[in-house]
């Protein structure tokens, strides 16, 4: 980061990035907590996720303000402008991932009184952990300016899609086996869909990181493995 002497702009950017990382740390934690809360039917933990979402939203506003101020004050061009745009896009993705985690936490509250669905919580938890690991690597790639790591994350989204497809099939089977499972399975399915969307957003972030580091978006289309798009789900 030292191709030219640390300018006022660089100092501003470093502070804004620190806000993004603070936000990223909270979002990572929210994904894990949302999945743990579901597996343990832990409403207190679910409540913490909802509280964290407020902090995440506040951070996004703060990042937007600081970025706007820096653009107005320093009028960055080319690579510097690219960096600040990346910050904004990453913050926007993080905010939405946080929303999905909050949605999961909300549904956990609804699921508490329903019969557990054989092993699905654990499978969802595995999927959520996979996404959190992707997010962790994207955030690391971002602070380190590591385009290769970002590219690796981009490829991993495929695995999350596969996990989602497997879970989807599983829910269908459970619903057909016993109609009493339908409500719980619908909720679980929406949660799985939430996690799958988190994976997509994380992948977008990976593309942003690649753009910021290399100056161009990755060309090769990433593998798309969601075969269940015929099912319409509310976001």
């Amino acid at each position: 980061m030292s191709e030219h002497i640390s300018s006022a702009y660089d100092r501003d950017l470093e502070e804004i990035q620190a806000l993004v990382m603070r936000m990223g740390g909270l979002v990572e934690q929210s994904i894990l907590s949302a999945a743990d809360a579901l597996a343990a039917r832990d409403l207190e933990l679910a409540e913490q996720v909802r509280a964290a979402d407020k902090a995440i939203d506040t951070l996004e506003l703060q990042i937007n303000d600081e970025a706007a101020r820096t653009i107005a004050l320093r009028a960055p061009v080319s690579k510097d402008l690219r960096s600040i745009l990346t910050v904004l896009r990453i913050a926007a993705s993080l905010e939405r991932i946080g929303d999905y985690a909050k949605n999961m936490a909300k549904r956990t509250g609804t699921l508490v009184d329903m019969p557990p669905i054989n092993g699905s919580d654990k499978a969802l938890r595995r999927m959520a952990r996979e996404v959190q690991l992707m997010l962790k690597d994207v955030l690391d790639a971002y602070v380190r300016g590591d385009a290769e790591l970002a590219e690796e994350v981009r490829q991993r989204d495929h695995e999350v899609d596969q996990m989602y497809n497997a879970l989807f099939r599983e829910f269908l089977t459970f619903m057909m086996e016993d109609p009493r499972n339908i409500t719980a399975c619908m909720h679980l399915h929406f949660m799985a869909k939430n996690v799958e969307r988190m994976g997509d957003l994380t992948t977008n972030m990976a593309e942003q990181v690649i753009y910021q580091v290399t100056g161009s978006m990755p060309e090769e289309a990433r593998p798309k493995g969601d075969k269940t798009s015929f099912v319409r789900t509310p976001e």
Binding site: M1, S6, E14, E15, Q17, A18, L19, M21, R22, G24, G25, L26, E28, Q29, A52, G119, A123, L133, K136, L139, D140, V143, R144, E148, E151, E152, Q155, R156, H158, E159, A166, E170, T173
Partner: protein, 353 residues
């Protein structure tokens, strides 16, 4: 006192250490920290290096009230987590963060301590018996050949119990050692079953029961470790004979490959089924714990070490398989193992450009 240079000191410390300056930038980072964070963050805002909420809170708090704080710091690499305890020390305008690796201690301290206590307890029972009989043989029974013969018989049983315990402990530790490397040799499951049943036939006869094998025509092959899979079958069939022998016999079956939801892949299922007295449901989840026995007294009398199913579980872990119990009191027990038929491609490894 002459001053020892701080950077030399930091360099020689194995724990990762970072110093946060007044401007919230990292002013010093030792090599251990660089290795852990995979980057030198000197000159950058500390949040960019340490973003975990618990640690950021600890730093905020420490800077606010000027006292030391601790927080957990988790480092995820692939599938294993490394837990650190972060010690946050504020001094004037600077803040020192020391990360201490706790993962090793977690494992060794809690798990090992329980295990050693249990092992000692299990060893003491037969040892006490042996010592008691030796004393009797040397004293009161010195000139009583009849008593001597009887006591020597009991001593042989106790010594045998000790030997089994040591054998099982050794297999358990060997299996644990290899647990991370998944075996890949093709193993013919019918052959494994044939060898195990052959060995246990005499025991079945003594228990007045018989073994029957059900297997499909075509060969059933999985990637695995033949000797370990034979140990699995041996332990399961031995249990069925010891705890579930009836005239109805014991059935060992191989089921053709099928998609298993729990493992999300195609598996071959092996079952060992008896029609004995079964296992009450509340015990089922605990059966694979070391030294866990349903009826402590009865099962000890049967000569069991309580390690058989723990060994089975670890072998199944190594094969990335699954162990399942299905039992109805009064009707019998079916123990199943699921073994994946193929080692799925590691997408992650092959897709790095």
């Amino acid at each position: 006192m002459p001053k020892f240079p701080l950077d030399v000191l930091l360099k020689s410390v194995k724990s990762p250490i970072l110093l946060i300056g007044e401007d919230q930038r990292i002013s010093l980072q030792n090599p251990a920290a660089t290795a852990l964070l995979k980057m030198d963050f000197t000159g950058r805002n500390y949040i960019n290096a340490l973003r975990q909420p618990a640690l950021l809170d600890a730093v905020d708090q420490a800077q606010l009230d000027g006292t030391q704080k601790t927080a957990r710091f988790l480092v995820q690499t692939g599938n294993t987590d490394q837990t650190f305890e972060a010690l946050v020390v504020p001094d004037n305008k600077q803040t020192l963060v020391i990360l201490e690796d706790q993962s090793a201690e977690h494992d060794i301290n809690s798990v090992r301590r329980d295990f050693v206590a249990n092992v000692s307890h299990e060893l003491r029972t037969p040892l006490t018996a042996l010592l008691g009989f030796i004393e009797t043989l040397q004293g009161p029974a010195r000139n009583d050949p009849k008593a001597q013969e009887r006591f020597l018989g009991i001593m042989a049983v106790e010594a045998d119990r000790l030997r089994r315990l040591v054998d099982d402990l050794l297999s358990l530790s060997r299996v644990e050692e290899t647990e991370r490397s998944r075996p890949t040799n093709p193993v013919d499951l019918e052959e494994v079953i044939r060898q195990s049943t052959e060995l246990l036939e005499p025991l079945a006869k003594t228990a007045k029961t018989h073994l029957q094998v059900v297997a499909p025509e075509q060969p059933m092959v999985v990637p695995g470790d033949a000797a370990q899979l034979q140990q699995v079958l041996h332990n399961l069939i031995e249990n069925a004979i010891k705890y579930g022998a009836t005239e109805a016999g014991i059935t060992v079956a191989i089921h053709p490959p099928a998609y298993e939801r729990s493992l999300q892949q195609e598996c071959i299922r092996l079952t060992v089924e008896d029609q004995g007295s079964g296992i009450p449901e509340r015990h089922l989840v605990r059966l694979t714990e070391r030294f866990y026995r349903v009826d402590d007294h009865r099962d000890r009398e049967m000569g069991g070490t309580g390690l058989g199913l723990a060994i089975v579980k670890h072998i199944m872990n190594r094969h990335r398989g699954r162990l399942l119990f299905d039992s109805t009191e009064g009707q019998g027990t079916t123990v199943s193992i699921l073994l994946p038929t193929v080692i799925e491609n590691l997408i992650r490894q092959s897709s790095i450009p």
